[in-house]
């Protein structure tokens, strides 16, 4: 065979019974939103503008030069600006190079937006949805900085690179960080290697540093942090949510700063999504939105420690 496969990997990696269960799980998600009068929408997988996020790599379709979406966020925000109201989407998203036990370059994302919600209210709703799959248990909310301090690390909002490096060296249970990370890379390293493994079983990490705001607005009382949250279940990152930034000018600045980092580090520099910025200029309603990895949620519901058991054909079998 051309791809070098012997052909013995034709069956799905998941049991057929598990795939039937997956269909039920999808029904549960749709029921959850139907009960809350959040409507299902569809937006394109391929779009002309890309994502400038420094740590998200898009796949590109060769014939048209269009980008496969890394999430439906920009298109859904255009729907919100057009007045569609509360909406959700279950869709495939694509991220180049993200492959491992908990990553597949093509995966199923659930994304939804709630008008008038702030991060706290959306966290309640995410917890309710996750509870339907994983059972109810104590749900902890912890600020990003507090999670560092509780893991025995310095305050990430004030510590300099040298202090963070010394803190990393003081944790011999983790392998040493790779050289040349810089301050923000070092925070990512400490967070993934030391903070996340120490989080409570079901934990929303909130108030991310402003330079990790992505598309979240900054906190009204403390602009050093953003109204962004992430949900971790048993150390697995399940969801990422924002009290959405609505200021088009501010978002343009963030996109341009991403582009200049990409230029400096020799990465591809996708164009800014002008339609998104135009929609935000026209007026994105006050809202909170979140993206949740459905394959991961289903894998945790199945008690698995990888995605292969809940996906029909992961990357290597696709």
């Amino acid at each position: 065979m051309r791809d070098g496969s012997g052909g013995d990997d034709w069956p799905p990696s998941a049991d057929v019974t598990r795939l039937r269960q997956r269909a039920d799980w999808l029904k549960t998600v749709r029921r959850f939103f139907a009960a809350r009068e959040v409507i299902e929408v569809e937006t394109p997988l391929l779009s002309q503008a890309g994502v400038t996020d420094v740590h998200v790599e898009s796949l590109r379709e060769r014939d048209t030069g269009r980008w496969l979406q890394t999430s439906p966020e920009y298109a859904m925000k255009r729907l919100l600006a057009a007045g569609l109201g509360d909406c959700y989407q279950i869709t495939r998203a694509f991220r180049a190079g993200e492959q491992g036990r908990w990553h597949n370059p093509e995966f199923t994302l659930l994304e939804w937006y709630r008008l008038g919600f702030d991060a706290d209210r959306l966290i309640d709703e995410v917890a309710a949805l996750v509870g339907e799959f994983l059972g109810t248990t104590e749900v902890v909310r912890e600020r990003y900085a507090d999670a560092f301090i509780e893991a025995g690390l310095p305050d990430p909002l004030v510590a300099g690179e040298g202090e963070l490096l010394r803190a990393a060296a003081a944790h011999p249970e983790a392998a040493p960080p790779p050289p040349g990370l810089g301050r923000s890379g070092l925070l990512d390293w400490l967070f993934s290697q030391i903070v996340v493994p120490a989080l409570p079983a079901r934990c929303f990490v909130t108030h991310y540093p402003a330079d990790q705001a992505v598309l979240a607005r900054l906190d009204r009382h403390d602009p050093r942090v953003a109204a962004r949250f992430e949900l971790f279940c048993d150390g697995v990152e399940l969801a990422n949510g924002f009290h959405e930034l609505t200021d088009a000018g501010e978002l343009r600045c963030r996109f341009e700063s991403d582009q200049s980092v990409r230029r400096r580090t020799g990465q591809r520099v996708p164009d800014i999504d002008e339609r998104l910025l135009a929609a935000m200029t026209a007026g994105l309603p006050d809202c909170a939105g979140v993206a949740l990895g459905l394959d991961r949620l289903f894998a945790l519901a199945a008690g698995d420690d990888s995605l292969a058991g809940v996906m029909a054909f992961p990357w290597d079998r696709a």
């Binding site: 993200e98 491992g100 908990w102 990553h103 040493p176 790779p178 996340v196 990152e237």
Partner: protein
């Protein structure tokens, strides 16, 4: 110089780290949220066998180790070195005892082994997964007892000692799994 990007990482890949050859035992892609992605790997030092953890920035390139796994025929032991021959080229290599290690007790002349070469020198030796070896010493068992679960030690021609069923006699030829060190069956012929 050959190198690998982290997205080529998988177990068995050979890397140079701090001037030493390593093999990847386990590779985990780690990316919490929207930050920097890492590959967290367990690597085994091919010289010392020691396993350590390392993290790499995803997308980083790492020098490849000039390590080759080859199939070679085991020829003989000269009292210190183990001698092997590449079947196609008839090229001979001698492996020091520290490269052969525990595998030595399974090596039978003529058997095809997996020999790992580092810069052209044998670094480690894996015996075939299954070997056929003669029993040179074992206590007499119970005649006709082919069912009971009991076992006894038997010394094989290469010096390895394995647990065998009670009915096995001296001089018999056995099939043994070298990975577990367990008796499989009597050899068919």
């Amino acid at each position: 110089m050959a190198s690998y990007s982290t997205n080529q990482f998988k177990s068995g890949l050979k890397l140079m780290l701090d001037g030493e050859p390593y093999t990847i035992v386990e590779n985990e892609f780690v990316k919490p949220g929207k930050g920097q992605a890492f590959n967290r790997v367990k690597v085994r030092n091919l010289k010392t066998g020691k396993v350590i953890d390392r993290t790499f920035k995803s997308g980083e390139s790492v020098e490849a180790a000039d390590v080759m796994e080859t199939e070679m025929q085991y020829l003989y032991n000269d009292g210190e070195f183990y001698h092997f021959m590449a079947p196609e080229t008839f090229e001979q290599h001698s492996a020091p005892p520290e490269a052969v290690g525990d595998s030595g007790k399974w090596l039978k002349e003529q058997d095809i082994c997996s020999v790992t070469l580092y810069n052209g020198e044998p670094l480690s030796v894996e015996p075939p997964p299954h070997v056929t070896l003669q029993v040179t010493q074992t206590d007499p068992g119970l005649k006709g007892d082919t069912s009971s679960g009991g076992s006894k030690p038997a010394t094989l021609e290469t010096g390895a000692v394995v647990q065998v069923p009670l009915f096995i006699q001296e001089g018999e030829v056995l099939k043994v799994d070298t990975r577990t060190g367990e008796y499989i069956s009597r050899a068919k012929d």
